[in-house]
């Protein structure tokens, strides 16, 4: 945001402008940039997902729209969804039904504000960035519950209940897993956490044994957090038809879709900035001339690819097994991890 403010002043726009107007304008620009990035990024991930799924399943995926490997397929889909009829189920709770997709998308979108794409390439460098990101991404579950309840469909309600139980449960190991790193760096600011990993590859948090356990817990919990296979219980198309978004059509459905893919990127980006060295390549000499956002985005895209890869390989868990993994495995494990790290810190100093 500061960068935008600076740009605006340099361009001469700031003359005769009140400071609050200037910062408001900068805010709008920053928000617009993020929104555009989220939408385009999500579309790219949808296309990637379809291509990766295709190759995993020995077929091609989209091939026609846009001449080269169906690159414009997502845009064609978006246009199709825009033109579709907006169907309301009879007796749907109109308010909740309408607000749900917006909540889901907003939750995903808000988290983008704190993602550190580079040293000074961040929407808002908040001191509680990590906490903020977790908080906003749990807004998604509100949307899920609203969608399930508002649809007036029993299967959707099942999806919503599962979603609520799952996301709320998995937030605990997710938060506990990153705590050792936070303890070590002493900050919740995502930029500072990434900054702490400057230097050679082994200074990444991933290569610390304690943090590695954290990383594994984080990665698996984040799959549950964004409802991906093997934890895609809220939507389980073979059990709950499509779960909470069964009744949605057109753009409302598109918002759920965009929200899901944006969320995938958010959890990956947090993992990158906390564990995988943020925007650093791991070789100090290379860092000087490689653009930081490129490194950051590439790393995040790789983690998104891992999520896609898992989705098309694994079956899904049952709801009680899901809860078992969370409450009986991950939470004790992450607590123990946190305790051991604290013990080492207090002894070594």
């Amino acid at each position: 945001m500061e960068a935008f403010q600076q740009m605006l002043s340099q361009a001469g726009w700031a003359q005769g402008m009140q400071p609050w107007a200037l910062s408001g304008l900068a805010m709008l620009f920053a928000g617009g940039t993020i929104l555009g990035g989220v939408a385009v990024g999500a579309m790219f991930f949808i296309w990637t997902e379809r291509k990766v799924a295709g190759y995993i399943q020995s077929r091609y995926g989209p091939m026609y729209v846009g001449h080269f490997h169906g690159v414009l397929q997502s845009i064609a889909d978006g246009v199709k969804l825009l033109l579709k009829e907006d169907i309301w189920p009879t007796d749907a709770d109109k308010f909740l039904f309408r607000i749900a997709p917006l909540l889901v998308f907003t939750g995903a979108f808000l988290s983008f504000v704190v993602l550190p794409f580079g040293p000074d390439f961040v929407g808002a460098s908040l001191d509680i960035g990590l906490f903020y990101a977790f908080a906003t991404s749990s807004l998604v579950v509100m949307g899920v519950i609203a969608a399930g309840w508002g649809s007036n469909n029993k299967w959707s309600l099942y999806g919503a209940m599962r979603g609520a139980a799952q996301v709320i449960s998995y937030e605990i190991p997710l938060g506990l897993a990153v705590l050792p790193v936070v303890m070590s760096v002493g900050s919740l600011n995502l930029g500072t956490l990434a900054e702490a990993q400057r230097g050679w590859l082994w200074s990444w948090h991933l290569f610390n044994p304690i943090f590695f356990v954290s990383f594994v817990i984080y990665l698996i919990s984040s799959l549950a957090e964004v409802n991906r296979v093997p934890f895609d219980l809220p939507e389980t198309e073979s059990e709950l038809v499509s779960g909470y978004h069964t009744e949605y059509t057109g753009m409302k459905f598109a918002f759920f879709f965009l929200g899901e893919y944006a969320d995938m990127f958010v959890v990956s980006a947090i993992a990158v900035s906390v564990f995988l060295g943020g925007w650093y390549t791991g070789i100090p000499a290379v860092d000087a001339f490689v653009p930081a956002p490129l490194v950051f985005i590439l790393k995040s895209v790789f983690l998104v690819f891992v999520q896609i890869w898992l989705r098309w390989t694994l079956p899904r868990l049952r709801v009680d097994q899901l809860m078992y993994v969370c409450w009986k495995v991950f939470i004790p494990l992450s607590l123990a991890n946190l305790f051991i790290y604290g013990l080492i810190r207090s002894m070594v100093g």
Binding site: A53, I56, Y158, T313, P315, R316, L317, R318, D320
Partner: protein
Amino acid sequence: MILPKLQHAPASRPGDRARTMKSELLHINMGPQHPSTHGVLRLFITTDGEVVHSVTPYIGYLHRCAEKKAEGNTYHQYIVYTDRMDYLSAMNSNWGYCMAVEKLMEINGMGVEIPEYAEYVRVIIAELNRIASHLIAFGTYGLDIGAMTPFFHALREREAILNIFEKVCGARLMYSYYVVGGVKWDIPPDALEEIELFVKLFPDKLREYNELLTTNKIFVERTANVGVIDEDLAVAYGCTGPVLRGAGVKWDLRKDQGYSIYDRFDFEIPVGGGDMGTVGDCWDRYWVRMLEMEQSLAIVEQALQQMPREGEIMAEMPRRLKIPNSEVFFRSECPKGELGFYILSDGGDVPFRCKVRSPAFHNLHVIEEVGAGQMISDLVATVGSLDLVLGEIDR
């Protein structure tokens, strides 16, 4: 339909807390349009949260009066209707019906001698169809559990079989290839080569499936100890095929009744042994199907070796088949289980009555007993493991 009266779920454990936390049963229709009911099966379930209290299957959405139609069609004309019963293994249904008619003729002294060559062709094609049917069972079971990729891999191999069938009889789903007295056409040489190639390549693919799904930890967790149909239950409900064999009962009509030329081949009857959990759980039924594919492949391989180079494909048959008043009930081992045809003739050229005993119909009944008390996800897994085809249940 009259809904059962809504009642409070019994408290799970005695105590104040359980008594004050009242939960109501929820009535849900699973199907007839539902992704995991494999067609138009409608399961009426009452649930208490995630736990299923009772399951009632309602059928009839695909009823086409197939049995009644037999009374207006000649013995030969009825073959096309057997295609539409178990449409995933139409060859086996065709064969079962043709053998029933042949048996009826034999009873009346009109015995037809099926040429040896034709018998081999029948066995090879039927076993290939069994593999194709089990591939669909394997693939869709993966879908039910949430793994999508195995389905595409299974369809890829099924495609090879369908290509063979297309060369053999021109059709890919509704074959009507078997006729009373033999088969309709000879296997063309290039199709024979393709079968040989398939036999050579398929074991590798089976290994791939086992790596991808069978031994997957999550898959085992989802299917082992789930939907247990033990020996007594399976026998009491008249379950047959992989459902019965999954329960540990060694019963296969190809050996125990010994029709056609199955006594010439060396093959095993795989039974469920509770390798991953209890005998007769979903994993066992699934595993029996995987093993059966191997055995079918072995039969095809042996048949290809023993088969005479060429020969008659059809016995001498009367132009108009008229069978004196008599009855027959003939069962054959289809991929889903025992398919039985009861035919009553009255001297005309059409059957007086034709009753079909379809395996999936009897396998489905057991869901009422097994489904109650499971979780919704387990119910999906159990229904999937029964490998139902609604075309056969409703007829």
